[in-house]
Structure formats: structure tokens, C-alpha cells
Symmetry: C2
Subunit: 181 residues, 2 copies
DNA sequence: GTGAGATTTGAGCGATTGCTCAAGGTTGCG
DNA sequence: CGCAACCTTGAGCAATCGCTCAAATCTCAC
């Protein structure tokens, strides 16, 4: 997953996978039937990881909006210590792979949609908790939120300057707060 | 440029370039010395096109902020008629090409920085015209603006749903307006 | 220890990659 | 027209691509 995430589908060669998996080509094709299929599995794993991260944040924090705040801030501050992850694997896939590889392309879009739905239900919870205006257009706000998070992660890769990123994150949170009832 | 823009560096083969340029490999290598060099030229052309678009908008509109508004809205409404362009070539390049291809990678970053500087000077002009608060942190706002525009263009590729995109564009413009003096 | 079944191995497949260069075409000047 | 200077051509190079498969190796019940 990591290799595909960093280098993309076409940028990753079988040699890369061999050394990353410590497997010879034969074993790779016995375990996963093709490079494409392995890529699809990597996306699936990434997808579930993302959902887990979101759920963990929700369970750790007291309110849905607080969960979002800490999530957004953790992107800005680098998340996992010194090793900063590339931007969203699914986003990179949608942007990178030519749409004539329909299997990969549409699966990436599907997962992105699913994550957006997860954001939506978190926002709905926030409405119920009175943290957001009851008349908020959840669908639109979820889309907005997802695109903002993606933009932040992209910016974090372009220039991992902590204060700037934190300011950006704060802008997102503040703007999100402006929908508060 | 178009081919590289759509399919990325590694996703574009010499065959693609041959048919796009209507040139045989020999001529391609006589005119541009390598695939990498041709890619760099494509990026340079894209960069200058972008600057021209920005300057044209500025000259057509009455004020700097109006120029920004029309630019942002034109991204949402599809810009050039029916054919929607992929997201920013430079952004895609930074996200796609592995950083071990340092020439390509750093040149893409350089151009992105240069465009951000162009945004910054447009914003400075807006301050002088009294359209923005004199105490605005131009550098930060330029970064914010660029990341917002990129996010909008990415979203436009993910789902080219006009009303949604226009709403997104309006959010950007409104938020930009909140910096008004 | 032995043999059957499962797994791993890596040489090497045909195809494609980015790229080269001798050969042939074109152009413009006298 | 002849000749020199340029440009285009495309077969084909070495390297790499994703991938296969017979043979070697491992695993484990008896």
C-alpha cells in the first residue's frame, strides 16, 4: 500500500513490489493475481484505514465537531511524528491514473464517495448535537469538508511549514464553525 | 502539453507523443532532446499560459477582486465550453512524479510558487484599491487562495456537477470577501 | 523418515519502454 | 540543374515492463 501510495500505479514497478513485499514474482502472482488486483487491495486497505481513523477520532473526542477539529489539526501538525504521509491515496489515484483504466479509476471514486458519506453522517450527528445549524445542507458541507481536507493535505506535501499549515487548518475549522446554529 | 497534462509523465509513452506531435521518434529527439526535456517544456508552456490567463482576467475586469471572482467562477462553470480541463498540471506533477526525479519535481514546485507570487501581487493590488484590509497577511492569503482554487479544480474533475461547483466557488469568494476592510 | 501437498523460486517469456542513427528526403542557393 | 546543408524517417537497440511455469524447497501427517 505504501509503495503504491507514494509512487502511484504506473510509477510502481514489479521490482519495487518485489523488494517491498520480499517476494519473488511467482509468489506475488500466486497471492494476488495481478498488479492491478494488488493495487485494488491496497486501495481497499487504505479506505478501511481511513474509516478507522475517523471512527477512532470520533470515539476519543467528546463531540462530533471536536473530532473533526482534532483530525484537521493533526493533519497540519504532521500526524505521525516525523514521517509525513503523502496526500490522500484515493485522490492521487483519481488524479493520476488515466480514466481508461476504468476498474481502478471508478473504485477510487467509489471509496472517495464512501468517505464523503462518512463525513456527512458525522456532520448529521453534529446537527443533532446542536453543534451545527439544523438547516445546514449536509451533502454540500460534506463535499466542502472533504475538498478542504484534501487541499490541506496537498499543501502539507507542497510545503510542510508547520505554522502556515496550522493557520490553514484553523481557517477550515473557523469556516466550519460559521455554520454553527 | 495536453497529453502530459492528462496522462502524467510516466503515463505518457513515446507512442502517445509520436501520434500527438505527428512526428517520428528521430524528429522528436532532434527537436527536444529527451522525454524529460519535452515534459519540462510542456510545464513551462502551461506556466506561461496560466500567467496569461491571470493577466487577461486582470485587464478585462475593473478591479483585482473582480478579476479573482470571475476567474474562480469560470472554473466552476467549466471555463472553455464543453471541454473541461484536468486540474492544474503543475499540481498533478507534484503529486504524481516521484521526488527522485528532482528536475521535474522541483521545477513544478518552482512554477507553483511563482504562480502563488502572482496571486500575492494581485492581492496586494486589492489592498491598495481598498478592497482588502490593509493588515491582511498577503502571503498566507495567497497560499490559501491557491489551495482553494486547486481544491475547486480537483472537485470539478471528481464530479463536474455545475450547481455544486458554483456553490463551492461562491464559498471561496465569500470567504475571500471576509478579509475585506 | 518418508511421501504428498502446498509454497517459493528465478530464469526467462513476449511486449513495450525511451532512445539512436544510418539512410533517404527536402530545401534553397548558385 | 548540382550540390551542400538541413530535416525526417523508421527499423531496431538495450533495458525494462508485467507476468508465467517447471523445478526446487518447505511443511506436516503418518
Amino acid at each position: 500500500m505504501r509503495i503504491f501510495w507514494e509512487k502511484g500505479y504506473e510509477g510502481t514497478s514489479l521490482k519495487d513490489l518485489e523488494s517491498a513485499l520480499s517476494m519473488k514474482p511467482g509468489s506475488i502472482y500466486a497471492a494476488f493475481k495481478s498488479k492491478e488486483n494488488l493495487f485494488l487491495l491496497a486501495m481497499e486497505r487504505y479506505f478501511h484505514n481511513s474509516l478507522n481513523l475517523l471512527n477512532d477520532a470520533r470515539l476519543t473526542c467528546e463531540s462530533p465537531m471536536q473530532a473533526l477539529n482534532t483530525m484537521i489539526n493533526s493533519i497540519a501538525t504532521g500526524g505521525s511524528r516525523d514521517h509525513r504521509s503523502p496526500p490522500c491515496f484515493l485522490l492521487k489515484t483519481v488524479l493520476t491514473t488515466s480514466p481508461d483504466n476504468k476498474t481502478v479509476f471508478s473504485k477510487a471514486r467509489f471509496y472517495l464517495d464512501a468517505i464523503r458519506q462518512e463525513f456527512a453522517s458525522l456532520l448529521r450527528e453534529a446537527v443533532q448535537a446542536g453543534e451545527l445549524d439544523a438547516e445546514t445542507d449536509i451533502e454540500k458541507l460534506a463535499m466542502w469538508l472533504q475538498s478542504q481536507i484534501n487541499a490541506l493535505r496537498v499543501e502539507a506535501q507542497r510545503d510542510p511549514n508547520e505554522p502556515r499549515l496550522s493557520w490553514l487548518a484553523q481557517e477550515i475549522i473557523t469556516h466550519l464553525g460559521s455554520f454553527r446554529s
